[in-house]
């Protein structure tokens, strides 16, 4: 099939043949250079994704002498009948619904704050970004201490005469506490993404707007915000997916408790698939998770595309 490329000039046969071999050789080299990455991606990415679909309908166990058996939709029947699953899904959805606007909005504020050419902005940007390069495990440990009943946050609140709750021990505040901490950790990341978006907006637009007498707010609403459409889509999708992938914080800080108030979809999948070794069941959870992520990406992409057309 590589040979069909050569149909242009009326070349003599030897030339054509020579070119044909070069094309074929190039293809050979191309596939050879692609091979290591391709093989690794097939084995450790494509196959596991396909396995998610396959294993979800079996009773596969992590370590088992008996081969996995096809059991139809039994896993899903069990899953949808499980109160813990619904609670985990609900927690995950609440987490996502709260953290997506909060984190992206505050990150935009940070980006606007450090986007000015004022002395010291570089320093501020660096500090805001520090939590991003700190691992989530460390951040979780640190905040686990800060959230203790007798920890840093309550001690500081105590100075103001407020008696703080047992943040992680109370089902009413635990999820909220995780949201605050997660937003704190990742906000600098999205600040940088917003910043790079802000820098793509041409300066002339602001010039024109201010000549027309637009106020700062109007400039934001009619120049900055529309100019950030692409960035917005990206940020929404990444925060949403990260929110649905919530695991580390839960595992380090609360183990899903108290009373399942911080259990999440991924935490459930790990608990069943790793600790209880029920790979089949865990795969059905993963599959549900996968479908949600896919749906969210498609919906967000669709919504922003719609806006682009209207404009």
């Amino acid at each position: 099939m590589a040979t069909t490329v050569v149909t242009d000039a009326p070349a003599s046969d030897p030339v054509r043949r020579a070119r044909r071999t070069t094309v074929r050789r190039t293809a050979g080299v191309g596939w050879a250079m692609l091979a290591p990455a391709a093989v690794l991606m097939i084995v450790f990415l494509i196959i596991p994704i396909l396995l998610t679909f396959g294993l979800a309908f079996t009773n596969a166990r992590l370590i088992s002498p008996v081969p996995a058996k096809f059991i139809g939709i039994d896993n899903f029947v069990r899953l949808f009948g499980s109160a813990t699953f619904w609670k985990s899904l609900l927690n995950t959805v609440i987490f996502a619904i709260v953290i997506v606007p909060v984190q992206s909005g505050l990150a935009l504020v940070l980006a606007l704050l450090v986007n000015a050419k004022v002395r010291g902005t570089n320093f501020f940007r660096t500090v805001y970004f520090l939590p991003v390069v700190t691992s989530m495990v460390v951040v979780s440990m640190l905040w686990l201490f800060m959230y203790q009943q007798n920890g840093l946050i309550n001690a500081l609140l105590g100075r103001l005469g407020i008696v703080g709750p047992d943040w992680l021990g109370d089902p009413r505040t635990a999820l909220f506490a995780l949201i605050v901490m997660s937003a704190w950790q990742a906000m600098g990341f999205h600040m940088v993404i917003w910043l790079s978006g802000l820098q793509t907006i041409p300066g002339e637009l602001y010039e024109a707007a201010s000549l027309d007498g637009a106020s700062t707010w109007q400039q934001f609403a009619y120049v900055t915000w529309p100019g950030l459409l692409q960035t917005r889509t990206f940020i929404l999708i990444t925060i949403t997916i990260a929110a649905f992938s919530l695991f580390t914080q839960v595992n380090v800080m609360t183990q899903g408790g108290p009373l399942d108030s911080t259990s999440t979809v991924v935490f459930q999948a790990v608990r069943t698939g790793f600790q209880q070794q029920q790979t089949g069941y865990a795969s059905s959870i993963s599959l549900v998770f996968f479908v949600i992520v896919l749906a969210v990406s498609l919906v967000q992409r669709y919504l922003t595309r719609d806006k682009e057309l209207k404009r």
Binding site: P131, V137, T224
Partner: protein, 301 residues
Amino acid sequence: MSAQLDAPAKGVVHAAGEKRRPWLPWAVQALRIALCLVFGLPLLFMVVSSFKPDTQIFGDLGSVSAFLPVGSLSLDNYQGVFERVPFARFLINSVIISVVTVGLGIVVNSMAAFALSRLKFPGQKLVLGVILATLIVPFETMALPLLWWVNQLPYFDGSIGWLDTYEVQIIPFVANAFSIYLFYQYFDSIPKELDEAATVDGASWLRIYRSIVMPLAGPAIATVAILTFLPAWNSYLWPLMVTQSESIRPAMVGIDYFKQMNVSWGQIMAYASIITVPVLVLFVAFQRAFINSIASSGVKG
């Protein structure tokens, strides 16, 4: 805060804004500083506490000294960390795993990107499409099936199952769709005429890759290195599931030991500081490269 938009015409904007609200720039600056405290103080608290005995950490909590290196400072917590767990081993493991992942990742992904960007062969577009499509799949969705899968794979010595090895922590993360994409984009910006000239001089494609394109790809290599290193160094879920022996366990998972034993917060802070501060120092030193790498991860939208 929208007054801070970095517009070229901001002289005009500010003059108007400042006349009506002269306090605004000060308020904005105060906000910047307050946020600095919000993001910086917890980390400062972590490092400072790592030098204090537990009783003092709690004693200092309600006052400014929680964030200051005052009182009886010592390296006792650090010593305790090394005595209590095989911490040196954990650290070495983390270094081995992340450095090898980064090194192999640069070679494997840049070669693939080179083939996709600079060679012409059928099927290219499809391959690139499939690679980009995998970008939206978060690792967490396939972690459990992958765990089952690596446990069925034949290992290099002929036995079955990869669990509890270095390889299982490295090899699945070498090929990376996003790294390929970053290299691909960068290679596309290097003039193709260079290849033609080299071909005329008799250079092979491998030669062009090694001696022409890669030496020009410094910024892309730096970006990929940073974006591969951070998740490798910080990874938690995967090593938690695949490692059992201490001899191959990385530092992030090792911190769990401290939750199971009598909690010494000073030691936890010391442990956390050792695995965090080097990365923070690297970040501050190579700040521009870090920020640009992260910014480039936004382009895929």
